[in-house]
Amino acid sequence: MSNDSLDPRVNRLKLGPAGEVVKVEEGENWNIYEVFHQEKRGAHHEHVGCVHAPDPQLALVFAKEQFARRKKCVNLWVVKSADILAFDVEDEDMFANNMEKTYRDASGFKVMEKINKFKQSK
């Protein structure tokens, strides 16, 4: 199954059997590398896209050209796409929250009302 496509992202979609199985020989076919971009020192590396390359070194070279030419950049990571482990698409339901857990959605506390009230009282 994992050899159906040269592109691991396609395989993750599990599109089912599609003709002949293609075997990826190391060095024979180019791999896909995911690119992570760092905008300034200490910042997170963020995923920005992918490149085709024959090896990690050239993946870095190509990534620099595709993703660091215009936007400010201080560093890049490249990771072979096939090395990324992901959940299956049909397992998306694992991420569904139950109704009574909405308190987990909170990313902060609402305090503006209290602040405004305090300002008015002064």
């Binding site: 490149v51 090896d55 070194q57 050239l58 070279v61 050209e65 595709q66």
Partner: protein, 253 residues
């Protein structure tokens, strides 16, 4: 400082950058894969940028003509580019090997200018350092990749090296007239010193790629370009390169 000597050196460096940049730009849209096409084109632009900086230096510091006019209207025998850069692109192996040899030569040259007694050279050296680091990273990565990619690929890389090595050695033709003055004024260490630094720089990469560098003493550098003696390839390149400029030489761009 000897202005005639400086002018001569700057023209050689600038013409090499211009012609190499133009040749590499001929690959735009024809590169082997999209990512590489963009990378190679982008580096070609960098070369033209280096040429422009040097022509501007001539214009602003040494009273030369404007950069565009100087680059585009000189007759062929006034260009001082080396034979290496005027050769047609051929196959990608040839172009890559030339890119590798030229960019490493460029690196040792600009690095040496960090300590130049001529301030505009010091500033330029600092400015292009990062670009050259990237260009040589790209070149080295491809040399390694293709030399290890099977028999046919290896053979082609070796053949490309055999075709380009004497041409590349020709970059370092010392000037009969000005070499000593430039070394004495500490403008740069001179062509012979740079040639040996360059050999030290390319050798480890070639060894790692298992490519055979011919016996150094057997390399007969291809000289002539520095005196305006060129192969017929330069004339047709110049005609194409300056075609648009010559439609209206007074136009402002």
């Amino acid at each position: 400082m000897n202005n005639a000597a400086l002018t001569d050196l700057i023209i050689k460096m600038a013409d090499d950058e211009l012609i190499q940049g133009h040749r590499n730009s001929e690959w735009t849209g024809l590169g082997p894969v999209m990512e590489e096409d963009i990378a190679f084109s982008s580096m070609a632009q960098d070369k033209i940028g280096h040429a422009w900086a040097l022509y501007r230096m001539l214009h602003e510091e040494l009273g030369g003509r404007g950069p565009a006019t100087f680059a585009f209207v000189r007759p062929e025998n006034e260009l001082k580019s080396s034979h290496l850069v005027e050769m047609p692109n051929g196959e990608y192996d040839f172009s890559l090997m030339r890119h590798f040899l030229f960019d490493l030569a460029e690196s040792v040259r600009y690095e040496s200018l960090q300590d130049s007694s001529y301030e505009p050279f010091r500033l330029l050296s600092k400015k292009v350092k990062g670009e050259l680091k990237y260009h040589t990273l790209h070149a080295n990565a491809w040399i390694m990749q293709l030399s290890r990619a099977g028999e046919e690929s290896y053979d082609r890389m070796q053949q490309a090296l055999d075709q380009t090595i004497a041409l590349a050695a020709g970059i370092f033709e010392p000037s009969q007239l000005y070499e000593e003055a430039l070394i004495e004024d500490k403008v740069y260490p001179g062509e012979t010193a740079l040639y040996h630094r360059w050999l030290d720089r390319i050798y480890p990469v070639l060894v790692k790629a298992s490519l055979n560098l011919p016996e150094i003493s057997a390399i007969v550098p291809v000289y002539g370009g520095r005196h305006g003696l060129h192969t017929p390839h330069l004339q047709s390149l110049l005609r194409e390169m300056s075609e648009v400029f010559n439609l209206d030489t007074e136009a402002s761009w």
